[in-house]
């Protein structure tokens, strides 16, 4: 049994990377490994938007990640610098920046790059999807 970490750098609906990462995540768990965490960076932060509303016959990527967290307690960390630039923020950041709305909430957490380094050290394997 090994610890896996995933780094996701592509946005849903414009890059195939999130789909690949999600399917890989389920395969990792199915083989009896543990997922130490998923880190969303660059355009990957768009995966965390709770306001995405794709047609009902398409996968809602936000919900799919949230389900992964609910079923397997996988931490979902989002790079705060990449997120704020792209208009992804939680309630407290929205207040701090004087914005009317927020689109990021648990199980997604805004964190710094240090969290990625920590994941890299904790995991036996870090696989990038970009």
């Amino acid at each position: 049994m090994m610890q896996y970490g995933l780094l996701v750098m592509g946005a849903p609906y414009s890059s195939p990377a999130p789909h690949s990462a999600l399917r890989f995540a389920h395969a990792v768990l199915a083989r009896g490994h543990q997922l130490a965490g998923v880190f969303f960076y660059h355009d990957g932060v768009h995966n965390a938007s709770s306001l995405m509303a794709p047609p009902q016959d398409e996968l809602n990527m936000h919900d799919a990640w949230a389900e992964l967290h609910q079923q397997h307690a996988v931490p979902l960390d989002v790079c705060i610098a990449a997120a704020l630039r792209r208009g992804l923020m939680n309630e407290s950041e929205a207040q701090r920046h004087g914005k009317q709305a927020y689109n990021l909430s648990p199980p997604f957490e805004l964190t710094g790059l240090g969290q990625l380094l920590e994941l890299q050290q904790r995991a036996d394997r870090l696989i990038t999807f970009a």
Binding site: M2, Y4, M9, P16, A17, S20, R23, F24, H26, A27, V28, A30, R31, H33, D124, R125, L126, I127, T128, F129, A130
Partner: protein, 96 residues
């Protein structure tokens, strides 16, 4: 020993960079757009890394290329096999 994961087509700059970096003990996994390599029998990487290039079957299927890959007897892997490859290689590099 490194597992190289290529996500872009064989004629991409990502593929060219990967080809320069691949070592004699390394393996290559083609995912996403990279599986269109099934349509490119002249791609130098086939000769560069004989029997060490794998294609992700579900990405071949979603592009309608699974039968072409089978005709050319290209080695394919399910997602489970992708994870198995990462178990064998301590280092992976994704080219995109």
């Amino acid at each position: 020993m490194i597992l190289h994961i290529l996500t872009k087509a064989p004629d991409s700059s990502a593929a060219a960079q990967m080809q320069q970096a691949v070592g004699a003990q390394d393996s290559v996994l083609l995912i996403e757009e990279a599986v269109t390599a099934a349509l490119a029998p002249a791609w130098e990487a086939w000769e560069q890394c004989p029997s060490r290039i794998f294609l992700l079957l579900e990405d071949l299927k979603s592009r309608g290329l699974a039968s072409i890959a089978a005709e050319h007897q290209l080695p394919t892997l399910e997602m489970d096999g992708f994870v198995a490859l990462t178990e064998q290689y301590t280092k992976t590099v994704t080219w995109y």
